[in-house]
Amino acid sequence: METLGHLAHGFSVAFTPVNLMWCLLGTTLGTAIGVLPGLGPALTIALLLPITYQVAPEASFILFAGIYYGAMYGGSTTSILLNTPGESATIVTALEGNRMARSGRGGAALATSAIGSFVAGTLGTLGVAFLAPVVVKFALSFGPAEYFSLMVLAFITVSAVLGSSSVRGLTSLFVGFVIGLVGVDLQTGQPRFTFGMSQLLDGVDVIVVAVGLFAVGETLYMASRRYAGKDEIVPLRGSLYMTAAEWARSWKAWLRGTLLGFPIGALPAGGAEIPTFLSYAIEKKLSKHKEEFGTVGAIEGVAGPEAANNASAAGVLVPMLTLGLPTSATAAIMLSAFQSYGINPGPMLFMTQANLVWGLIASLFIANVILVILNLPLIGLWVRLLKIPAPQLYAGILVFATVGTYGISQSPTDLVILYLLGGAGFLMRRFDFPTAPVIIGMILWPLAEAQFRRAMTISNGDWSVFYKHPLSLTLLTLAFIGLIGPHIWAYVERRRRRGPEHVPGDA
């Protein structure tokens, strides 16, 4: 009840015309930068930090919150339409989303992602308002051993994207591991796979790899196949928005995605990628339309990960507001904005800055509403992009991918990497190697490695930490069931079905 009172007060702060204007500006700006690969919310907020010298704290946080949520919405648009993920959190969206767009259901993919984002964002924000103290306790019980086990669990996603040949899929995965290892090793400070180039010391940005393999590689492949008369894009088939069947397939995926995204996002080292991976794997396992995955595109594969990514964005605010822990680049920059007002974010923030915190939370609800209103009418406009004749569209994608990649850090090296990977992506596509495992490998492996080594340093080399911690053991068991379970199940099923004929022979 007390929370409701605070929340009502928060709405009274956020509902002033000036603050609504900031919210609108933030969400619009956020959507735009989300659409551009490279220009993420962290960078945008960093560039807008000087605004804190000019306006009231409430206004600037409402602006930043709008940018933050807006970028999550915008990022999925280019993933779906152009196979060019703008943020690492929307890479998974591209897998099914772009297939749907090519087979004429781009409008539905955009709609399920916008509405799913709204549902997950709203539920996630409710979670921030009501559950923050509980969730944060759970989050702090995660140590390196638990994180490592969570990464192991996330690796089951790989099984969902391996494609028809396990050998090819695993090869891609290992390529991803190697790309993920490039750069200075956090644990020892030593450079790995940098070949003496200082530009490689910070590693390869996952967006460069995703855009290179997905957008550039795919575009080159499509262009090369054009005269074979295959793979034509169907701009629109059926209704622009979602059909009743698509609604029915989406809503459970939204809820499951939210349930994964919010708690994992609240973990200090959770991030947005892992819940999107897990959500994709789960949706594929549970779907009654498995044949649509990787072919014409399955709507669950868009709805789940999109919800997961927006719920995790809300989750990130939990440690930030309750403990002053910045757990993502964007949160870190928002915290430094607190500091320029002389406010020290910490465990006392909810008490000492109630106006600010509840105003911020209320504005997140408003931002969600504005974003869904802003994004749904835009769908019709976005889908028209696909009517552009193929040569111009492909050229446009290449220009867009190049400009966006350059925008990440204005580094020519990134462009060289982009086109090298684009060439590699073309060859992989040509010889039927799946590209998604590369991305999963490069994101998960360095995280898993770092957490593993931290756990082993803390335990002084004692392996038992991974199974003596109950949480870690639970996660490992889940991973085991996820990986081995389906095979055992299939084996048992087979035995049972052909059982009667074989029993005499077996005995």
Binding site: Q339, G342, P347, I458
Partner: protein
């Protein structure tokens, strides 16, 4: 395509309008110069904030009419440094923000360029480090911590920032003073302050070392216990001894300062030192430093160059002990 472009243009225009509004308010001084600030890090970090705060204070004090900030991030500043040396050579109106982190990165990355090639203008601020333990820890004082370290360093996992960074360096210096071989230390590096902090709050590690600002609120809330700080003298409002007072002869500031490019004239160098000194002595700068937990440790020109040389030697030695150089 047109519609999309119009949409993007209109949002860009909205953003631009926001920026324009920001720049209108401070009064433009007629004769004040324009300066260029080079930040060898991505927007948002400590060096970038130093640059943007400098820009803000310099303009509000009417010392400059405006500044242009360029970010070239990567590898602790060692990607930006060669660019500053080669492409900004002789530009008398420009400054680069750098600090102790770059000294360490140059050594650890075996960078071809170093800070002796640029012109030291001023050391501006520093953040002293803090040694903290979880509230439930058996360590009550820094002496308890050192005693446990001496008994068996592998049993005392300490969380901090990336390997070879200021936190790791301070841990190495503490161990060295206590006579514990640096190679035996159990240091657990985390990518960001938040992650290290959560490892402490979750009782995953025995102690933590990071900038005081990272821990201050948790210390006030009683979730962490502050054992010692690495400042040169006790700080107002901080209820903990310095490491020296606690019997550990170590002092460390994660300092930040500014440099002019190589090849600037003596007149330009002197003018730049005066400009930065005037700024550092202003009330506006003092307020900003207070808000951000930056300690003012102003040192200019030749004194700064001398300090830089000493600090480089000290950091090189400890990184070698830690096996990183």
């Amino acid at each position: 395509m047109l519609n999309r472009r119009r949409f993007l243009m209109s949002t860009a225009a909205a953003g631009a309008a926001g920026f324009a509004a920001l720049h209108l308010s401070p009064a433009f001084a007629q004769d004040a110069p324009q300066i260029q600030i080079f930040v060898p890090a991505a927007p948002g970090g400590g060096w970038d904030q130093t640059a943007r705060t400098m820009d803000q204070v310099l303009r509000s004090e009417k010392l400059i009419s405006g500044s242009q900030i360029t970010n070239v991030g990567g590898a602790g500043g060692t990607v930006g440094l060669p660019q500053f040396i080669s492409q900004w050579n002789g530009k008398g109106n420009s400054l680069m923000v750098a600090g102790m982190v770059m000294v360490g990165a140059i050594i650890a990355n075996k960078s071809a360029n170093n800070l002796t090639e640029v012109t030291p203008i001023a050391r501006l601020t520093g953040e002293f480090e803090a040694l903290v333990v979880p509230a439930a820890s058996p360590f009550k004082t820094a002496a308890d911590f050192v005693a446990a370290l001496k008994a068996d360093p592998t049993k005392v996992p300490v969380a901090g920032g990336s390997a070879g960074g200021s936190d790791h360096i301070l841990f190495g210096l503490i161990a060295k003073t206590a006579g514990v071989p640096a190679a035996n230390l159990s240091y657990v590096p985390f990518a960001g302050g938040g992650e290290a902090l959560s490892a402490l709050l979750g009782n995953q590690v025995a102690a933590g070392i990071s900038g005081y600002g990272e821990f201050s609120e948790q210390v006030k809330a009683g979730a962490l216990r502050l054992l010692a700080i690495s400042a040169d003298k006790p700080q107002e409002g901080i209820d903990a001894p310095t490491l020296k007072e606690a019997g550990i002869d170590v002092e460390l500031f994660n300092w930040r300062g500014v440099f002019a490019p190589p090849g600037v004239s003596d007149a330009d160098k002197a003018a730049m030192i005066t400009l930065v000194e005037t700024m550092a002595k202003s009330d506006a700068w003092a307020t900003e430093c207070k808000n951000r937990n930056w300690t003012q440790i102003l040192l200019t020109g030749d004194d700064y160059a001398k300090f830089l040389a000493e600090d480089t030697t000290r950091i090189a030695a400890i990184l070698k002990d830690l096996g990183l150089a």
